[in-house]
């Protein structure tokens, strides 16, 4: 059986960082799948939003999300990409949020659309979850993905990110 789901690159922060960027992403796959286990130092909050930037561009982006802090549900629309969650400073120590983003047809000339889900499990009271769809109306193939905190917080050590490539051929 052919291998169609391949880890392109993976990393784990050994010190705090403003962002993680996967660069020189090959155009040889059909879809991309990004998995993040993350925590930031955003103060006064249990969760933080992840922000993605493709190819260094923040133009022509759209994002729609359903967000719950476990006590209420709200929907949001933004002109930037906020596809998931990390835990933040007020969350239980050593607990990390989980985010998964599936980006379809990233190397075609069509708009790049993704679906995402994220949680900021607190292992105590509170916590949050997020379900979203995102698009980037640009004809270029995605060659880089920057991951950062929406709130300009610092990604904490032991945050991990893995980028998978998926082929539709067998």
């Amino acid at each position: 059986m052919a291998i169609t789901f391949i880890a392109i690159a993976t990393t784990e922060l050994t010190s705090g960082a403003a962002s993680i960027t996967f660069s020189s992403i090959p155009a040889t796959y059909t879809d991309l799948y990004l998995v993040i286990s993350g925590r930031t130092n955003r103060s006064g909050a249990i969760q933080d939003n992840i922000q993605l930037i493709y190819n260094g561009s923040t133009s022509s982006q759209a994002d729609r999300r359903i967000f719950s802090d476990m006590s209420s549900i709200a929907s949001f629309t933004d002109a930037l990409l906020y596809p998931g969650l990390t835990t933040a400073n007020s969350a239980t120590g050593s607990v990390f949020g989980s985010t998964m983003v599936y980006i379809t047809n990233y190397a075609t000339s069509n708009s790049k659309v993704s679906v995402s889900q994220g949680t900021a499990e607190n292992n105590a009271s509170g916590g949050a979850m997020n379900l979203g769809v995102e698009s980037w109306a640009n004809s270029a193939a995605i060659t880089s993905i920057q991951i950062s905190s929406r709130h300009s917080a610092t990604l904490q050590p032991s945050t991990t990110a893995t980028l998978y490539g998926i082929k539709n051929t067998v």
């Binding site: 990393t11 660069s23 020189s24």
Partner: protein, 78 residues
């Protein structure tokens, strides 16, 4: 690693992982982005508060006209 804020760049072709210091421009943009978020959030909260207050005022006026709470809520969609 010093106190200088860094970004991690992972080259998918070579596997090389490099911590790169942020430029002054990048640091300024991070600060501006957070200020813009806080301003937008404050505006959203103010609009929500104004909407809630208007609704409460409307319900109170409907009650003063003699409507029951259930009837007032039915009109207000509460």
């Amino acid at each position: 690693m010093t106190n200088t804020l860094h970004k991690l760049v992972v080259n998918c072709e070579t596997g090389e992982q490099t911590y790169v210091p942020l430029t002054a421009e990048e640091i300024a943009k991070r600060e501006a982005d957070e200020i813009a978020f806080l301003e937008a959030q404050a505006q959203r909260e103010a609009e929500a508060q104004a909407k809630a207050e208007a609704k409460a005022s409307a319900l109170a006026k409907l009650a003063a006209l003699g409507l029951t709470e259930e009837e007032a809520n039915a009109i207000a969609g509460a």
